[in-house]
Amino acid sequence: MKAVIVGCGRVGAGLADELDRAGWQVLILDTSTAAFDRLPSTFRGTALRGDGTDEDTLRRAGAEDADLFLSLTEGDNRNVMAAQLAIEALGARRTVAKINDPVRAEAYAHLGIAALCRTNLMTSAVLGLVGQATGDRPGIYTPVVEHTHVDVPASPAGGTPSTEA
């Protein structure tokens, strides 16, 4: 199984290590090489410096056909774009993007992106800790539909029709 991880923060590095130990082939990217200090010395996967929202970089790094693609940088929008690149251009089978804004997370679940929302995870955790009801706050918004592109119903006011075949 092949995993590509964009963003070598604590979560990215931790997951890279865990998946590597579990026998996955792991490729992790970050724009800063210093971030790779978070990886343990036992890590057998590939760590490459590069921008995970750049299609050329991802291809050169060998990020095609991943079984799992995780975009976990500090930028919600960067994560959204990397995830959509992975699905649309790189043939990723499963993609999770960290989207900390719950409104955006839910919107992208409706566009077919699994969204990991730290805001909800932490809010629920603290509410649970102090014995309050956690409410409906998914930590991961699972995709409502398969990832869709231009065939999403156009707006009623008549957006420009696509000429794509």
Binding site: G75, V103, R104, Y108, S155, G158, G159, T160
Partner: protein
């Protein structure tokens, strides 16, 4: 016409000013408070000092009644998200994105952004026009869909030289438009025999280019 501009850099600033001058209703979103304040001092209360990527603030800015959302920040990923939120969350009829990395154009188009403006591509196209390369030149992208206006200069060795323009087999999704000879545009007719130095203008999808190149430029030398 209500236009929501997101991104108060140079492009967003001048765009907003021009739109106001031509009598449109405009709102400009800029997340940097200092920058937003500067613009507001000059052009008034149309500036909203919030992040245009956030659903909550897009709503407050009136995205649900916007006719056009123009995402012109300096970051491609932000412009993509702004347009997708506008389109899919607020049903905005027309979205326009500024794109820095020309490679992102097809992804953005594929993901439903209506119009994509790439300054990098435009400057590149302008430079290419000045260099006599054995290649197709991209003169312009047409607003709708993926069509491009392409120019081929017939160099010695082009298989098209000496043939009638109407005899060329052009691929599906592509149409020859005319010939520019000695600086004069000429429509295509059965009598148009192509000659060295002619510039053939075609309109087509990017995937037609290899076939078009074979017909007009010849086997690629690169």
């Amino acid at each position: 016409m209500f236009v929501l501009v997101v991104g108060g850099g140079k492009v967003g600033y001048y765009l907003t000013k021009e739109l106001i001058e031509s009598g449109h209703e405009v709102a400009l979103m800029e997340k940097d408070r200092v920058r937003a304040g500067q613009i507001a001092d000059e052009i008034g209360s149309v500036v909203i000092s919030h992040d245009g990527c956030e659903g909550k603030y897009l709503h407050e800015a009136g995205a649900n009644r916007a006719d056009i959302v123009a995402a012109v920040t300096g970051d491609d990923e932000d412009n993509l998200v702004i347009c997708q939120m506008a389109k899919h969350h607020f049903d905005v009829p027309r979205t326009i994105a500024r794109v820095n990395n020309p490679k992102n154009e097809s992804l953005f188009r594929h993901l439903g952004v209506d119009e994509i403006i790439s300054p990098t591509r435009m400057i590149l196209g302008s430079i290419e026009q000045d260099i006599p390369v054995h290649e197709l030149l991209h003169l312009a992208a047409l607003g709708v869909g993926e069509l491009e206006i392409i120019e081929a200069r017939l160099q010695p060795g082009s298989p098209a030289i000496g043939r009638s323009a109407l005899d060329l087999t052009v691929p599906d999704g592509c149409s020859l438009f005319g010939v520019i000879r000695d600086g004069k545009p000429t429509p295509l007719s059965a009598g148009t025999v192509l000659a060295e130095g002619d510039k053939v203008i075609a309109i087509g999808r990017p995937d037609c280019e290899p076939a078009l190149r074979d017909q007009l430029i010849g086997e690629s030398e690169a």
